[in-house]
């Protein structure tokens, strides 16, 4: 058990470095001069620009730049005046020590900006995960129980249509209907602008209904299909026939035998679902002006705030990798057969 977890953790290390290399390469190949981006001065004094370049380590070859980004440069001397001899020690600590650099536009540490935004995104994605799994499993089981009836067909059609609609469009339509026309729900944001102090639970939920619903649709569609297939497969197993043969009540067979075994594999999709939800949140947060990570990233991309973009890719991936790891762990806990290996 511990061994399994250790192995999975070790496997995540190359993936993590892959992510850092990839995000570094993307930004390295991006057009535009970083110094110009920071100073807003395309015609800056070449002397000053060169000094700044050396301060930022941009005069170094890409490999060195990558290493500085990763582990910092406080262990070496930076040659600020360009005479070939380093004099002041570097000031960066590198992302492995929690220093993702400073955002160009907001002049604040990237990590701080991200940490501020993560709770909002988690609130959105975790709620959507719970709702998506709840409704998805329910619909999937219903479709399996009423296999090949009108209910099965209806569930299939509704979930497929829900999945085929562009999320932002559906979000906008819902805002117009429930927010603007009926005035039942707030049109955007996580809390009322006028509100001071602690948010009440009801208030929080009112703001969450629309975004969470739209975000969860994808998961609902996928999980309900998968649940249906799994449960139907289990129903063909010999032990179900045995249970029937020994005269067990149908309800007992469903609850004790079919669902327990059929729902187990559904847990394996927790990890991948987190990725889908994080990606979906980028669009949903934009639609509902939700102050989360996705919105931060979109803004950073447009402002060409490269340190923030790089940092957010890495942090989002770490969240994703951890999510997958957690779901694996949960699966091992749920399924006694795996623990025996």
């Amino acid at each position: 058990m511990v061994k399994f977890f250790q192995r999975r953790l070790l496997q995540a290390i190359p993936t993590f470095f892959g992510v850092t290399i990839l995000s570094f390469l993307i930004i390295l190949s991006a057009p535009g001069d970083p110094v110009t981006l920071i100073t807003f001065q395309p015609n800056a004094d070449p002397e000053t620009a060169a000094t700044m370049r050396r301060q930022l380590g941009l005069d170094q070859p890409p490999l060195i730049q990558y290493i500085y980004w990763l582990i910092g440069n406080d262990w070496t001397l930076v040659d600020v005046d360009g005479d070939g001899v380093g004099e002041t020690p570097g000031e960066r600590y590198g992302l492995l020590r929690g220093d993702f650099g400073d955002s160009i536009k907001q002049k604040k540490p990237v990590l701080d900006l991200m940490v501020q935004r993560i709770p909002a995104t988690l609130r959105l994605t975790v709620s959507a995960l719970i709702l998506g799994y709840g409704i998805g499993v329910l619909l999937g089981v219903l479709a399996a129980v009423f296999h090949r009836t009108w209910l099965d067909q209806l569930i299939r059609i509704v979930t497929v249509i829900g999945n085929a609609v562009p999320a932002f469009w559906l979000g906008l339509l819902l805002i117009v209907v429930f927010g603007v026309q009926l005035k039942l729900l707030p049109i955007s944001g996580m809390q009322d602008i006028t509100q001071r102090g602690e948010q009440t639970l009801g208030e929080a939920i009112r703001h969450m209904i629309l975004p969470v619903f739209v975000l969860s649709l994808n998961t609902v569609a996928f999980i309900s299909r998968f649940t249906r297939t799994q449960v139907l497969e289990v129903m063909e197993q010999d032990y179900i026939r045995t249970a029937h043969a020994k005269g067990l009540h149908t309800r007992v067979i469903w609850m004790r035998h079919a669902l327990r075994n059929g729902l187990l594999p559904v847990a394996t999709f927790l990890g991948p679902s987190i990725g889908t939800l994080l990606a979906g949140a980028v669009i949903i947060e934009q639609v509902f002006q939700w102050p989360g990570m996705g919105k931060l990233i979109v803004d950073a991309v447009f402002q060409r705030d490269y340190p923030l973009v790089m940092g957010s890719i890495v942090i989002a991936s770490v969240m994703f990798i951890l999510g997958v790891l957690l779901s694996d762990l949960m699966y091992v806990l749920l399924d006694p057969r795996i623990r025996l290996d």
Binding site: Q11, P14, T15, F16, G18, V19, I21, L22, S23, I26, S29, A30, P31, V160, I161, N163, A164, V165, P166, A167, F168, W169, L172, L173, V176, V180, G275, T276, L278, A279, G280, V282, I283, Q286, V287, I297, V298, V301, F302, V309, S312, I313, A316, S317, F320, I321
Partner: protein, 304 residues
């Protein structure tokens, strides 16, 4: 086609009994599957209209879709001979939907094929050759799938501001991971089968085994995946447009038409509804066809 449908009607006693090949059997199954046929027909219709009518519009009717006409702003459907009204610049919405469809469908078709080609090539090599090749490809797969998919697309398209052609390549370059993983898993089990062993015993080379013996056996799952991917790509294109990094106006796509329309809920509801409905129908049809193919290409179908 006549031949196939005759077979689909199943032979009576007088007719000689055909032994149907796997592909013919699948086609016969699809021809009887109404929902899949509806999906296929709609896709075919949309594709024909979107790919053929631009030539007629430009060369015979001599109309430029990007012609603006202030008088026609927000005309409702049916007014002044405008079949589906006009947009905020007075451009003919119906014609723009056709042009938008041409680009959206091109992206769906070309990028999905490209995605699958990359996915198969890398998945086959990783699964079949194993060892170093597998290590490297698996590492790339794990890395790419550890980043939420839309992030990379968003960043890549914001940085390089792609044209349609480049966007197709970017979509494929970032989207092959799932297919590849699927193919790799399948190949890992297929290469241990006896018929592969037999082929190797007869002296077949690795490429020959891969192409003649393994590739046909992953064909069905790949076809299904490709259809689903095509549907998703249309959604992804619209999502990118919404975030402002897709194909830029005035070139119409369903995605950016939908995005442009979001400010006109009151003055031009028909502008908001039409691209959205078209996207929905198209994606739905791709999914339906995917589902149908999955059933049709499933060899265990008759055991159930």
């Amino acid at each position: 086609m006549v031949e196939v449908s005759k077979i689909a009607n199943l032979p009576t006693d007088e007719q000689p009994r055909y032994s149907r090949s796997f592909v013919r059997d699948a086609i016969a199954y699809i021809l009887r599957d109404k929902l899949t046929m509806v999906g296929l027909s709609v896709l075919l219709l949309f594709s024909l209209v979107c790919f053929i009518s631009p030539f007629i519009i430009e060369n015979i009717l001599d109309i430029d879709v990007n012609d603006t006409n202030v008088v026609n702003r927000f005309k409702q459907p049916g007014q002044e001979g405008l079949i589906w009204g006009a947009d905020h610049l007075g451009r003919d919405q119906f014609l723009r939907l056709i042009y938008g469809g041409r680009i959206s469908l091109t992206i769906a078709y070309v990028a999905s094929v490209l995605t699958v080609v990359i996915g198969i090539t890398l998945g086959l090599s990783a699964g079949y050759y194993g060892k170093r090749v597998d290590d490297v490809i698996s590492w790339i797969i794990n890395t790419l799938s550890a980043i939420p998919p839309l992030f990379l697309l968003l960043i890549a398209s914001a940085i390089w501001e792609p044209s349609t052609e480049v966007l197709v390549v970017v979509l494929a370059a970032l989207g092959w991971v799932g297919t590849s993983r699927l193919v790799r898993g399948e190949v890992l089990s297929l290469k241990e089968r006896d018929y592969v062993l037999a082929a190797r015993a007869l002296g077949a080379s690795s490429p020959r085994i891969l192409i003649l013996h393994i590739l046909p056996n992953i064909f069905s799952i790949v076809m299904v995946t490709m259809t689903i991917i095509a549907g998703n790509l249309i959604l992804v294109e619209s999502g990118l447009s919404y975030l402002g990094v897709g194909i830029q106006p005035p070139t119409p796509t369903w995605g950016n038409m939908l995005t442009d329309s979001r400010n006109y809920f009151v003055s031009g509801l028909h502008l908001v509804v039409s691209p959205g409905i078209l996207i929905m129908i198209t994606v739905l049809c791709f999914y339906l066809v995917g589902d149908g193919l999955r059933d049709a290409l499933d060899p265990r179908r008759y055991q159930k």
